[in-house]
């Protein structure tokens, strides 16, 4: 049966999610940061983690967002095929929600148009980047994930030859984290996509960041790879904010997709410790 969902609800929910994502750090991230604090041997690293936790506490009072960079808004939709959107354009409803959320939540507008020329701020943080997946059912799931520029800039894509194998990918991911150093605001979460095509591998690398921090991939082979990369990354010495220590990453999340017989694409998308995403099912 077809179920109607009104665009005005979508707008108000997107606005709410933008604000909540930017002020309230997820319990999974907080737990991972506290665990890291307990295990971090570097005194400077400990002090940095203490301040990150203190910052989350201040932000949760709802006056100051976690980070001044409240990101480019990335929105993931899982749209049930039985849903009928009424009241206007779905995407425009989402953009309106972003406008409202960023205005009312005192969030920074960080989007410019004409990327290689005038770079004029659009003034309302739109357009959001929207990824839509059509799924069975009559529900609409909306995930809002504001992504900061500093960590997004530390992204990498490589079209491997299949001969590079598992080890080739692991070595490369570790190298990507190493050369990113302090730039993406460690401790980080490393999103890795393996397989698919150029756009699919980068998309799954980003989606990997939405998984609860530290939750292993359900496939034991992938989970083992995640653990191996995490161990190696945390031996790099970069540490919290790059000032030295063993907590360079809180987690490594890998997602895979089948690929062409000639290919083995891989992508790395790094998430800073301000790992913000909130979701709702309508």
């Amino acid at each position: 049966m077809v179920r109607e969902v009104k665009t005005e609800i979508i707008t108000s929910e997107v606005a709410r999610l933008c604000v909540e994502a930017c002020y309230y750090l997820g319990d999974d991230v907080l737990a991972a940061l506290k665990k890291a604090r307990a295990n971090e041997p570097s005194p400077v690293g400990q002090a940095v983690l203490d301040q990150i936790l203190q910052n989350a506490e201040i932000a949760s009072r709802g006056e100051l967002p976690l980070c001044q960079d409240t990101g480019l808004t990335v929105v993931f939709l899982e749209l049930g095929q039985e849903v009928h959107i009424v009241g206007g354009s779905l995407y425009e409803a989402i953009q309106e929600g972003v406008r409202k959320g960023y205005r009312e939540g005192y969030l920074r507008k960080s989007v410019v148009e004409k990327p290689f020329s005038a770079r004029i701020n659009t003034g309302d943080n739109t357009p959001a980047v929207i990824h839509t997946e059509i799924v069975p059912g009559d529900r609409l799931k909306i995930t809002v994930a504001p992504k900061g520029g500093g960590s997004e800039n530390m992204s990498y894509l490589r079209m491997f030859s299949p001969a590079a194998g598992r080890q080739g990918i692991i070595d490369w991911v570790v190298e990507c984290v190493d050369k990113s150093g302090a730039n993406p605001c460690p401790p980080i979460i490393v999103g890795v996509g393996i397989g698919g095509t150029i756009e699919q591998t980068t998309l799954i690398a980003k989606k990997a960041l939405l998984r609860p921090v530290g939750q292993p991939h359900p496939d034991p082979e992938v989970a083992e790879m995640e653990a191996e990369i995490l161990e190696r990354v945390n031996k790099l010495g970069i540490g919290p904010q790059g000032l030295g220590g063993r907590t360079t990453a809180l987690a490594v999340h890998v997602e895979t997709f089948p690929c062409h017989i000639a290919s083995m694409p891989a992508a790395v998308n790094i998430q800073c410790h301000s790992a913000r995403h909130k979701e709702v099912v309508i």
Binding site: Q51, I58, Q68, G237, G242, L243, S274
Partner: protein
């Protein structure tokens, strides 16, 4: 480790006593500019025009705040990644800028310019933006208001927490910290 309290403007005597890895608390006036403001500052210098502020002895903080709520001087105010200002920084150091606050590594030309002109690069904690906002007491836009979050600002800070990353002796706190905890070759 106890923090070293410093006040702006910075003198050579103060710069000389700062070493990579030192914690500092900065009090006084600092200036705020990031990508777009730097582009304009350097364009002004190239055109032989006067800058909107006298850079001699001053600190520039690489930052673009979130909007201030009523009753607050500023919104959240953490550092942005510094390497994007590397193409512009030596030019400002040349005309007397003494300090930069940001996060992440600087290029070799910037590090050399810091040694040459006696300037220091500090890191603030990226993503601790709400915490940092508490040390900012006043803020005003002094130029380029059309840039919004990227406008040039003047702040009055009290006990603004930062770490010395690059000192005038060629040391780098990121390299030092990493070397201490690194368990891999190369």
């Amino acid at each position: 480790m106890a923090a070293i309290e410093i006040t702006t403007p910075l003198t050579d005597e103060v710069i000389e006593q700062l070493h990579a890895g030192d914690n500092v608390l900065i009090t006084g006036t600092i200036y705020v500019g990031r990508d777009a403001a730097h582009k304009r500052l350097v364009a002004a210098l190239d055109a032989g025009e006067e800058l909107p502020f006298d850079p001699r002895g001053q600190i520039i903080y690489y930052m673009g705040p979130s909007p201030a709520r009523p009753g607050r001087p500023i919104g959240s105010a953490g550092p942005t990644t510094s390497y994007r200002m590397d193409p512009y920084a030596p030019r400002l150091l040349e005309v007397g800028l003494k300090g930069m606050i940001g996060k992440g590594n600087r290029s070799q030309p910037v590090r050399e310019a810091m040694q040459k002109y006696k300037a220091v690069y500090f890191a603030a904690i990226g993503g601790a933006a709400a915490l940092i906002a508490n040390s900012i007491k006043e803020a005003e836009v002094i130029a380029y208001p059309d840039l919004g979050a990227e406008a040039l600002r003047r702040l009055r800070v009290e006990d603004f927490p930062a770490v010395v990353v690059n000192d005038i002796y060629g040391n780098d706190a990121y390299e030092m910290g990493k070397a201490q905890y690194r368990e891999v070759d190369g």
